[in-house]
């Protein structure tokens, strides 16, 4: 059996969340010497925003785009409209996170994504594209835990997973699908001759 079978949906969901946590932690860093007017009033506002980050070799590693971004001194809060984070680490499939609205506090120690959230992991040599959709997700970049109590779906080629609520713990490499779990796995011809598989 090829190692394809070890790249199961839950495993990829955890990897995707890990990449996302890494991005969020770095993407929301802003210049520090901003004049404080009122803690609840924006001290920085940008329209069409694009923040790009490069590695020492000059490779683009992450991009943060948003229709609007505002910074509030209180809790070092960042507010984003239509945020879109793209991670393009060399040698790794690109990972994209898109949301309707996002809020980060304390240098992105915590991140809230409000409304629909979509995460994509580009296809690679072993796996088709992985697309995960959920809503109202919270990410703690310090504990490296992402969670939502909303329905979540994951699609990778013919494989599907669905649940209501999840907790992805990157540090402990665990994923809990909290309720109404349904996973459909379609063996391809290569594996069909193999014995029945219970772990997608």
């Amino acid at each position: 059996m090829s190692s394809h079978w070890s790249r199961s949906l839950p495993l990829l969901l955890t990897c995707l969340i890990a990449g996302l946590i890494w991005m969020l932690n770095r993407a929301a860093e802003l210049p520090q010497d901003l004049p404080v007017i009122s803690a609840q009033e924006p001290d920085l506002m940008t329209g069409k925003t694009q923040v790009r980050r490069f590695d020492p070799q000059g490779n683009l590693v992450s991009s943060l785009l948003a229709n609007e971004a505002r910074h509030l001194p209180q809790d070092d809060t960042m507010l984003f409209e239509q945020p879109r984070l793209v991670q393009t680490k060399p040698g790794m499939p690109a990972m994209t996170l898109a949301g309707e609205r996002a809020r980060t506090v304390n240098r992105a120690a915590e991140v809230w994504l409000y409304g629909a959230v979509e995460m994509r992991r580009a296809p690679d040599a072993k796996n088709p594209e992985l697309v995960i959709r959920t809503r109202d997700m919270h990410v703690n970049t310090e504990t490296q835990v992402a969670r939502s109590s909303a329905p979540v779906t994951a699609e990778m080629g013919a494989h599907r997973a669905r649940a209501v609520g999840f907790v992805a713990d990157n540090r402990n490499e665990t994923l809990q699908l909290l309720s109404q779990v349904s996973m459909t796995y379609v063996p391809n011809k290569a594996s069909a001759g193999a014995r029945p598989r219970l772990l997608p």
Partner: protein, 147 residues
């Protein structure tokens, strides 16, 4: 049925936890695994995987129920037990505690029944002092056409 292996497999449960390091999934409450004609009902299902990608499962239930249509037949194999182990490497399903397997109308009761998914043959054992109980229903001879 051998063709079951090419069919999509669906696992449903009230909740599932996946441990990447241990390559282990634990699904609990109302666990239903279906693939083609095969269906397994359990309260708890633990699935692990070895380095070669072979899968192993352990299930518990009150009882665990297993059902699969026999190959090239309209008959079904049904089985129940309190616990089961599935060895994906050997293709064995082992049923433990109050286990029985019904194949068409033949029934085997035992404390430990091993069913070979490749050959569709099974072996039954009992605990010390216990007994295996097998009921084989003779096939009715087809009535000869009137002269």
């Amino acid at each position: 049925e051998q063709g079951d292996r090419e069919k999509p497999m669906n696992i449903q449960a009230d909740n599932c936890n996946y441990e990447q390091k241990a390559q282990r999934s634990v699904c609990t409450h109302n666990v239903v695994v279906t693939q083609g004609t095969m269906t397994i009902y359990a309260d708890r299902l633990v699935i692990t995987q070895d380095a070669d990608g072979n899968q192993f499962a352990h299930g518990e239930g009150k009882p665990v129920r297993f059902k699969q249509r026999l190959d090239k037949s309209t008959d079904w194999l049904e089985a129940e037990s309190q616990r089961f182990n599935y060895d994906g490497k050997k293709g064995f399903l082992q049923l433990f505690d109050k286990a029985w397997v019904r194949k068409s109308q033949d029934v085997v009761h035992g404390d430990h029944i091993t069913y070979d998914l490749n050959t569709e043959l099974y072996q039954a054992k009992s605990k010390p002092g216990g007994r295996v109980n097998i009921t084989i229903v003779p096939k009715k001879k087809e009535a000869k056409a009137a002269p």
